[in-house]
Structure formats: structure tokens, C-alpha cells
Symmetry: C2
Subunit: 371 residues, 2 copies
């Protein structure tokens, strides 16, 4: 009864790994739960009405690695696509300790209190290393998370970066269909996921600490180059002077970068979530940016480019995943790996042999599925 | 007569794109040349004897995009693998202007004059942008390139980064089989190709200028983190003091990185190709590193890991290339791209449909080939 499929499905439904021991009671509960899975139409209608339970459940399906879940998720997505796109998508990044959650809570509360509907999504492929700060989102943003206009969703740390990011991209579509007009995508700013996030947002906000050089903060030049706005956080009390100095420094650094295609000149500002200063400034800059890029066509052009990017990303990921998930291929790979490591064959030889085997297996699978 | 295959083969043989107009004379010459292509055994025997013409020709076959060439190249490679591996592979990187060629010429001449056989390979996927500095290698390193113990080979700028890098990896094998005991792999240090190079060398040398912060030099933190040795170049005349200051700064910066798995403590030194100071120091450091890592097992372990990495890289690249080179799939992609851009379907939908079509086509191709 307790097969692999069940175990991983249970993990997905709970949003965590299943407990090591599974008793009959939980099997019964799971089966009951499974039978209750709504239809694609019920899901879509619920999401469009802004039903939080169905939205959460749909995101869980999107994040699931079960093929049966993936199929339903795909159908829900296709139904939601025509209702998506009507939001401002903002990427927010910064190293741990920069005060991301406090910043998001402060800005977020101001938005939901002026009737914006805000979804906060988080990508953290390295959460195991960084001690799971993101998984604690809901406790970190206590006030925001209990607000009826806010929806906070951490992404699972399992899976490849590409996979996690793609799921965040799909989650954006679901949230937009559910009526969220502002989407925050939060990352930890260590450089792995920022490129992926940059390819799914309209505006990229980089939070920086004053006092420490960007080298010490582990912020790579490439991330600074993507930023539409740099906000120096914690500019309060004794920090104000330091923050102003940092602002001047970063402003100079930004001048060294080539002009942006968007015609927007990236800015540096200081802010304090404690004193609630500069927070509105961030939002005003975002609105100004959106205004500019919508009028000069850059906004629309970028959205189209991003859609293309995700089409190709999904194809590439599917090609690679399909191959490595094939059990028979995995066996062959193990063998070849040994031979390559021992220097018996070149690292370039297995590709051709394995791919021929693989294409044959794929075709046979398709053939039997159709029969 | 003048078909696509011929055009691209001509391009490959000349190492440049073919002229826009092709006359009967060049067709005749090409055909004569083609008939002269040696057998795999002749190639292998020639390479093992250190025949430069056959080595160069074999590398050209490795770099060729023609399937018929790829097949011969593959066979030559498999024959050469058992004779490869007996060299020190050194990655050398630094931004344009840091003095890479002068440094390589100076160190290279010292090596070949003490009876080392040196191959200098260059990866430059962005050579079109950086005005082809690498294509001028032979003129840049005039004295070294005319030395009988030196072999200098720039890589073509065409193709994806993965493809170019893989070919460099294959070229290393051919050069080692031809008796080269020291291999330099040179890159331009802008961050795209350094990871690929790091995965094929034993030692990673980063050249830096004094006076400019690493931010201004465009050197990313990740590249600094890979360096086993940083050499501050042009430490001569008025520059000496500045170079010493930079040395202190970079030494401090290196202390911030976590300890390396190799147990080697990355160092910073100053050198001058003009005054020929510090050059021997670089080489001594390399030898010390090789000694340490060979005795603690890290050298061997890394080589094995790298072989695995290239096995997987080759598979991934083949999966992706196969798909995008399929003419029929390209047609479908164009159509889907339009629909995705217009928001008619989600970016996630085409993957499944296209992959099914593709696997079917692949199998049919295999089937007819076998008949």
C-alpha cells in the first residue's frame, strides 16, 4: 500500500518530507484527501474567484513531482494564462542580514492597506545551507501574513534551481489569475537564482547594507548590473551617515555600467524599515519605472522576451529531466561513469551510445501509451 | 556541386568563413584536399609521434560541425585517450589589458627553453565583441609561436560556449597524446567561460592589474574564488608600489573565502614580464601546488571528477543540440514562439507536445539508418 508514489505525494501535500514511519491512519487520511482533489474546472473557477485554499492547492500541484499532478497543474495553468499578466512583478534580493523580511513586511503592509493585493513568493535553492531562513517567512512577516490581501508562499528547496525557478514562474501566473496585482519574488542574493528571477520580473530591487563593501556582502557585479534600484537598508540612528556615504559610492559604481536598454537610470536610495523612511520612495521609483517602460514599449517587449525565455527553459529542462529520470539509462550511466573515471573511455563517448538507446526507449513508451 | 556541406567544410579547413563566391578552381582544390584525409590510424600514429600537421588537422576535425568529421574525430580521440593525462593543465585568465599574452610568452619561453613541450589553447566565445584579440595570438606571441616546442591554437568563436569549451577539452587530450607536458588554457576573464575552464584544468591562475579595484576590472568574486594564484602584472617602474598595495589588498580579500578542499592556500604575488621578475615565482607556485595535491590525492580526485563532469556536459549538450538542430522542430518552434509571445498559450505548454514529436522523429531516423 505504502508505495513510492504515495510517499512523495504525502510529502507534497504537507509541504514537507513525510515522517519516516507511516501508519495506517495517515494512509487513510491521505486517500480521503486524494479523493477530494477538485476538478480542473473547479480549480480554475476557485482561483479566479480568489479562493486561497484552491490557489494554495494548485501551487502544490505545480510544485509536485508526480506526473499525474503535473498533468492537472498544466491544465489549470493553461486555463489561467488568459487571466494572467495584469500585475507588477518585482524581484527583491539582498544577502541574509540585509533586512529583507522587515523591508517586505513594511512595504507590503503599506500596499495592502491601500487596497493592493500582494503575493510574496520566495526562491531559495540554498535554504538548507542558509539555515532555512525562507521557510520561516510566515513567522518573519507576522503582520503581513495575516492580512487578507497578502499571500505569502515560500518555494520548496528541493530540486534543481531551474526547476524551482520554473515553478515560481508558474506560481506567478496562478497568483495573477487569482487577482494579485503586485508580486514580490524574493531571493537571497548569492547569485545562483538572481538571473532566473530577473527573467520573470519587471523591476529588480537590490537591498544593500551600508558600511560593508559589496565584496564583503557577497554581491556580485552581475547582480548590481541587473538592479533597477538599490536601496541601502537600516539607514537609521547612527547608521544614517554611513548609509549616505554608501549611497554616494554605489551611485558612482552604477555610473560605470553601460546605459540600460529600458532608458531608465538605475538609482540608489536609503531607507529604514524601523523609522519607516524611504519606503514610499522605493514604491514611487517602481511606479515611475513602470510608467516609463510602459510608455516606451520596453515593458511589453521584455514580458514577451521573458515568455520566450521560459518556453525554451522548459523545453531544455524537460529534455534533460526526461533523460536522467529514465531508470534504465541511470543504470547505463553508472557503468559508463566508472569507465570514464578509470580512464578506459573518453568522457565524450557515452553520449552517442546513450542517446540512441534513450530515443528508442522514449518512442516505445509513446507507442504503448497510445495503444 | 557547391552544396552546403562543401561550404562549411571549406570554412573549417581554412579556419575561417568561405569567401562569398566559390569558383571551380577552389572546388577542385577542396576535393583534392578531401581525398587526402588520412585514416584514423594514420592520424593516431602521427599524433603520437608529435606530427604537428596531423595534430592541427585532427583538432580541426574536432572543431568541425560536420557529422562525418565528428565521427572520425571521435575515433581519433578514443585512440588517444590512453596516452593522455600526463600533463599539467593550467588555466590562465584576466581581463583584456592585463598583459596575458606577454605573460604567457615570457613564462612559455622559459618552459620550452628548459625542454618542456607547451601547448597554449584559448577559449574566447566573445571574440567578436572583444575585437578578436585571441585570433591574433600567433602574432602576439611571436617568439613563442615559432619555437619548435610550443604549439599555439586559438579556438573558433563560433558555436555555444559549452560547445567551444568541450572542443577545448578534447583538444587537450590530443595535445597530451602528442607529448605536450604543459597545457595553458587562456580565457578573457569576463566570467562566461571561466567555470568551464576551471572544470578542465589542474591549476587556475588569475592575472590582475594593480591600481584598479577588482570591480573596475570586471573580475567577479566567483572567479577570484576559483584562483589558486593571483599574479599582479606589470609590477615594474612606478607601478611597483601600487602592485605591492594591491597584493596586500587581494591577500586580505582571499582570507575571506572559505578554506579550499585542496588544502592549498591561494597566494598573491607580483610579477613583471618586462623586467622578468616574479615569473619563476609563478611556476614555483604551480609546481608546489601540483606536489601538494598529488601527495594528498586531490589532484587525482579532481581529474576523475572533471572526467565525469565532461561526460554529463557532453550528454546534456547532445540532448539540447539534437533537438534544436531538427529542421522540422525548428518550424514548430517558430509557430509556438509566436503563440507564446501573443499570450495565446503558456510558455510551459509547447515542451510536452514538441518533445513527443521529437522522440518519434529520432526513433524513425535511427530505424532507417540501421536498415
Amino acid at each position: 500500500m505504502v508505495d513510492e508514489e504515495f510517499k512523495s505525494a504525502l510529502g507534497v501535500l504537507n509541504g514537507v518530507m513525510p515522517p519516516p514511519l507511516i501508519n495506517e491512519e495517515s494512509v487513510r487520511k491521505y486517500k480521503a484527501k486524494r479523493k477530494q482533489l477538485p476538478s480542473v474546472d473547479e480549480f480554475t473557477a476557485g482561483i479566479l474567484k480568489g479562493d486561497l485554499t484552491l490557489l494554495s492547492q494548485a501551487i502544490t500541484l505545480v510544485e509536485s513531482s508526480l506526473p499525474s499532478h503535473a498533468e492537472i497543474a498544466q491544465q489549470i495553468l493553461e486555463h489561467c494564462v488568459p487571466f494572467s499578466g495584469n500585475s507588477i512583478r518585482i524581484g527583491i534580493t539582498g544577502v541574509p542580514g540585509v533586512g529583507k523580511s522587515t523591508f517586505i513586511e513594511t512595504l507590503g503592509l503599506r500596499l495592502v492597506n491601500s487596497n493592493h493585493k500582494l503575493a510574496v513568493l520566495a526562491i531559495d535553492p540554498s535554504s538548507e545551507r542558509s539555515k532555512g531562513s525562507i521557510m520561516g517567512d510566515k513567522t518573519r512577516m507576522e503582520e503581513l501574513s495575516s492580512h487578507p490581501y497578502a499571500f505569502i508562499r515560500p518555494s520548496p528547496s528541493a530540486g534543481s534551481l531551474g526547476g524551482v525557478a520554473r515553478k515560481t514562474r508558474e506560481t506567478i501566473i496562478l497568483c495573477e489569475a487569482a487577482g494579485y496585482d503586485t508580486i514580490f519574488v524574493e531571493t537571497v542574493g548569492v547569485g545562483q537564482s538572481e538571473v532566473a528571477v530577473h527573467s520573470m520580473v519587471d523591476f529588480f530591487l537590490l537591498l544593500m547594507l551600508s558600511g560593508a563593501g559589496d565584496e564583503l556582502q557577497g554581491i556580485k557585479r552581475g547582480i548590481m548590473e541587473m538592479a533597477d534600484l538599490i536601496a541601502i537598508t537600516k539607514a537609521d540612528g547612527e547608521n544614517i551617515e554611513k548609509a549616505e556615504r554608501a549611497k554616494a559610492e554605489y551611485t558612482n559604481a552604477l555610473h560605470l555600467f553601460p546605459p540600460t536598454e529600458s532608458q531608465w537610470i538605475p538609482k540608489v536610495i536609503t531607507c529604514s524599515a524601523k523609522n519607516i523612511t524611504g519606503i514610499d520612495d522605493v514604491w514611487d521609483n517602481i511606479l515611475e519605472y513602470i510608467g516609463l517602460t510602459k510608455s516606451n514599449g520596453y515593458f511589453d517587449k521584455t514580458r514577451k522576451k521573458q515568455a520566450c525565455y521560459w518556453m525554451y527553459e522548459t523545453i531544455n529542462q524537460s529534455l534533460i529531466d526526461g533523460f536522467y529520470h529514465d531508470k534504465r539509462i541511470q543504470k547505463f550511466l553508472e557503468n559508463f561513469e566508472k569507465k570514464v573515471v578509470d580512464g578506459e573511455i573518453s568522457p565524450f563517448k557515452p553520449a552517442k551510445i546513450l542517446l540512441e538507446k534513450y530515443y528508442k526507449r522514449r518512442y516505445i513508451k509513446l507507442y504503448y501509451k497510445r495503444k
